[in-house]
């Protein structure tokens, strides 16, 4: 299916990767005071960073030395807006258009994993904007004074986003963040190669556990998504569990999966399922939304399906955009955030990276009409009800996080 938006280049590395390839920094930079020479006395537990939950929303403090910029300032002149974001996450054409309109230059620097970004930011690299900050690192960003609070007077277009985001649980009164993408995690499958239909299965999350599809099953390479799959297969929907027994159960199920189907672990769902190399793949909604561009010649996009529980009880998440404290062009940065919240730019970015955004103007009808989404993949759309009801994978206390990490390490390097 031809894409009307010609500048569309195709995805790069999918974004939801906490545990990822080569660039392995793991926060080695000594961020904050005295993390270098044996100040191991700052073994403060994550109890000092509040853990946002839908039922325990968090209002971040605004510290004296780190206040928002004043209102009514003019944009910086002869500036180069420095954007730090995931690979292929924001449309270059959109950025170029902004640069032209506001008479500045714009430079995009990319990172491969959130971990890498955090390490580099803590080591002192400075940019204006961080596009695509995941919710679970907001605590580190804010408490580590790496981001600055927003001045809402520049961000009128927030009205175009869902009202939830003027007071999200992870950042009450949207002091530091505006929303960017929103997505779900479900199961994508080839309808022509797989007989089962997850919509009619009793336990759809158990769909990958079928020996007859040996060699054709894959799961996402992400420790939260992986262990969560194991949890949900066993009927556990607390995706932030700290119970070692539940985590152990999930791990065992995943090891069983590995033995059953020789499961592959990667993030290339959006090419593998369209080409038929993999028949069942746990997937992110944004990846599958773009399936049409990856279908081989002659194969219609309808053969690709994406399932998400109809009652909304599955992983939902959203990314945010923040302005870094070290920004040399904070006014332009605010204007850029405002610019990408505007509907035409929202649609342009959606068509570029495939990921939906929580804007009021983004409805299934609009997406189909603009040919951004084929009708067969409407299930990749995230409804406000999903967001409100959905279970989310959020920041864990350090001890529990270690359990999850360790379990995933065993699974991904297993038998």
């Amino acid at each position: 299916m031809a894409h009307p938006r010609e500048g569309w280049q195709g995805h790069g590395l999918p974004r939801r990767t906490f545990l990822k390839a080569a660039t392995a920094l793991g926060g080695l930079a000594a961020g904050g005071a005295g993390a270098l020479t044996g100040c191991a006395s700052d073994l403060a537990g994550a109890g000092t960073i509040p853990l946002p939950r839908p039922e325990h929303p968090v209002t971040w403090p605004v510290v004296a030395g780190n206040g928002p910029i004043k209102a009514g300032l003019t944009a910086e002149r002869d500036a180069t807006l420095q954007i730090y974001t995931w690979e292929a996450y924001i449309n270059q054409a959109c950025v170029n258009a902004f640069a032209k309109k506001y008479k500045c230059k714009a430079e995009i620097t990319t990172f491969n994993t959130m971990d890498e970004a955090m390490s580099k930011l803590r080591s002192g690299l400075s940019f204006d904007l961080l596009i695509g900050a995941t919710v679970d690192v907001l605590g580190q960003l804010i408490e580590g004074q790496l981001v600055q609070p927003l001045n809402h007077s520049y961000l009128a277009n927030i009205d175009q986003a869902w009202p939830d985001f003027t007071n999200p649980f992870y950042d009450q009164h949207w002091q530091y963040t505006v929303p960017y993408t929103i997505y779900t995690t479900g199961i994508s499958w080839r309808k022509d190669l797989v007989h089962e239909n997850p919509y009619t299965m009793k336990n759809p999350w158990a769909m990958p556990w079928q020996a007859k599809y040996k060699g054709r099953v894959a799961i996402l390479d992400d420790y939260r998504e992986g262990i969560s799959l194991g949890l949900m297969k066993n009927g556990i929907y607390n995706l932030n569990t700290t119970d070692y027994r539940q985590i152990g159960l999930a791990r065992e199920s995943l090891q069983e999966l590995s033995g059953l189907v020789n499961v592959r672990i990667d993030n290339t769902d959006y090419t593998e399922v369209p080409t038929g190399d993999t028949w069942i793949h746990t997937a992110w909604s944004g990846d599958m939304a773009a399936a049409a561009s990856y279908m081989p010649k002659g194969v219609p996009v309808d053969v690709v399906g994406y399932w998400f529980p109809t009652d909304g009880k599955g992983p939902v998440a959203n990314d945010t955009n923040v302005i870094l404290k070290s920004a040399s062009n904070p006014v332009l940065a605010h204007m850029f955030l405002n610019y990408v919240l505007d509907l035409p730019n929202v649609l342009e970015n959606i068509s570029f990276n495939g990921y939906m955004q929580p804007a009021n103007g983004v409805t299934p009808q609009v997406l189909v009409k603009e040919q951004i989404l084929p009708p067969s993949l409407l299930s990749t759309i995230v409804l406000p009800s999903y967001f409100r009801r959905g279970v989310s994978e959020l920041q864990l206390p350090v001890g529990a996080d270690a359990l999850w990490q360790q379990a995933w390490l065993v699974v991904s390097n297993g038998i």
Partner: protein
Amino acid sequence: MTATNATASSSPAVAAAAAPARTRRLLRGNPWRHPWFLEGFTWLYLIWSLVPIAIAVLFSFNNGKSQAAWQGFSWRWYVGDPVNSVLHNPQLHAAVIQTVRLSVLTTVIAVPLGVAFALGINRWRGPVPATFNFVMILSYVVPELIFGVSMFFVFTTLFSTVHLGTTAEVLGLITWNVSWPAIVVQARLVTLGRQYEEAAADLGANQFQVIRRVMLPLLAPAIFASAVLVFSGVIDDFVIVDLLSSSAGNTPMSVIIYSTQHGGNGGPALNALGSIMLAMSLIIVIIGYVGYRLLTRGERGSGLAALTTIAGEGSPAAPVPLPLSRTKPSDS
């Protein structure tokens, strides 16, 4: 190889070998005939090695966005496409420039450093050189990831005046690649033995002359091979450079290809990048080779025996007027 040799050693050749073997046989048993089997084998290997490259280059000229389905010929990914071609996408062409910068700087520093190290270590006996020889090999053996991580750590905490960026990248790349010339040249030195130096010293050459007129030409293939290895090591490196980069301006092609392709599909623009890399490297090799031939034109005339040039013109068996006789097997 053994198959051919086996046939060579079968009936006629066995008889031939038994007899006084000054006469050449032109039968199947001729041990001097051209080794067709070996050549065929080599060509098979080359095809296996190069077909994916040919495909990658081919698809850089693809008219569509696919990297697998041919959709017609076009220059769009190089110059045509106004947003995403290498020419127009600032990220991509900054990457090309950075790759050139990094590879030239690193090769120019690492190769002399490594060659000097190999020469010095080879002659200087003692615990210090032995230890550092070991350290040099260790630097080769260390997994690149942990090396890169340690570099990142060091440049952001200990040596933080050298913050992340091109300088850090170059320093890291040199350290990572200096083991190529050190190991390869040293291996060749070992095989060479001391006969040439000693012969030259007998003729009155001082140490500088020995190095310049005798050792370096003898080591030319090893130096060349290690320069190739360093150059390509830098062009292809994405682990160290990714860790040490600080902005789009110092991100080379390898990291861009890695970042976008790792997920599976960055489009033919990346094939275009890869092809540019290939073309650049070929050009640099050709320039280097031509330069080398021009520079050593004088010496070649003097007929140093084992001056094996890479074009194979001076064959190792060329006779030599000097006392640097080529056959002293008992001395090596």
